[in-house]
Symmetry: C2
Amino acid sequence: MTTQPTAAILLIGDELLSGRTKDANLSCLALKLGSIGIEIKEARVVPDEEDEIAAAVNGLHVKCDYVFTTGGIGPTHDDITADSIAKAFGVSIGIREDARAILEAHYPTGELNCSRLRMARIPEGAELILNPVSKAPGFRLENVYVLPGIPLLVEVMVDGLLERLQGGAVALTHSIAAFVPESHVAPGLEAIQNDLPQVRIGSYPFLRDGKAGANLVCRSTDEAALDAAAARIRALIASLGAKVEAEERT
Amino acid sequence: MTTQPTAAILLIGDELLSGRTKDANLSCLALKLGSIGIEIKEARVVPDEEDEIAAAVNGLHVKCDYVFTTGGIGPTHDDITADSIAKAFGVSIGIREDARAILEAHYPTGELNCSRLRMARIPEGAELILNPVSKAPGFRLENVYVLPGIPLLVEVMVDGLLERLQGGAVALTHSIAAFVPESHVAPGLEAIQNDLPQVRIGSYPFLRDGKAGANLVCRSTDEAALDAAAARIRALIASLGAKVEAEERT
């Protein structure tokens, strides 16, 4: 199988763990990074606590080629991501002049108050990640990319990063939906999986209009193997007397 | 501050990490567990890989009072959660007669095929968690509660569990929204946070009709302190010449 660089996503924020806010960033990052062949190996959600953030960063940045964090780089007291990253790497943190200059150019004269200046605090040795919308930058320290929590900003900032990242072979996904109970399709599906180890095959059940069905999802960087898996799944569905309800390759 | 038992959520499934599916279970579990005073300390998303699942379970079950997993207990080859949990705890796994009996009673005679029987494979020493909808049970092994991935099933199965879990003091949330830029409210908000350490205060910016605002969210098990924080935030907003746009306690 062609190798792919790996990434971990670290979602930071009490509001995600209280259930108050549903995360929208994991899926966005996974699709965008996936489009250049970076595979997400793990995601974590941690509270706004320095030790928890630092411990997660320390664990993930050695495990994966890239780590992307979201949340906690705004102007309020609960925005502690930059300090936590500095702590994780054992480096100092302070106001960076290039980050301050970006904020000074953005706000009307006299409006760069102490709270906003907090957003220019960058760990030593980090590189800024530009924010074309609200200007307050993210940063990269070693293989850790630190982004804000607002989904619109994550989307544009990761778009800006994509050409600087080392991607890999892009995995394609082929989904086939049919009204077949998972348990009927299971033995045949397992045989296909065993014959085609370079394809990852998943089965996701659904209930629609009272009828049980499954989305059979194949994912691989090997397009010929993906075609072969899809063909065999179509034949499997037909052999069970059912028909393909929907099919999609992305 | 009153102590609360802690929980970790482990979401299992390739489809969450590929970005194809957005998780709906973390928020549901957080709200339901929060309602009996169990605090979520961390969530992780891992792929359908035995070593990854086992490693995450091993890390989380010593860190938190409870672990809840979702996903990977269906009838297909990619459903490997039960085996991974058995591996994590170093116990054997096989068909359990009480689980088989539940499935036998549910399916028409002759329809409990090998794939469905896979759902009766339960690690040694585990206790079944009943599934009133589609019958295939989850299980508890030590402090790890293993649930399916389908949100409807997670919801009813955790409802059935709540009275068996040891809860704690329930944290209430008080949210106040106003059209104040975060940076204007930040110094006052930090002072309130410093004066009331038993309340966790978060600030979540939004942009509506082109105007910057913030949701100021207080969370505490101490209702008097929560009232005090809310009163001070209302006064802070008024002192900035703004008004409260929305206010909610849950």
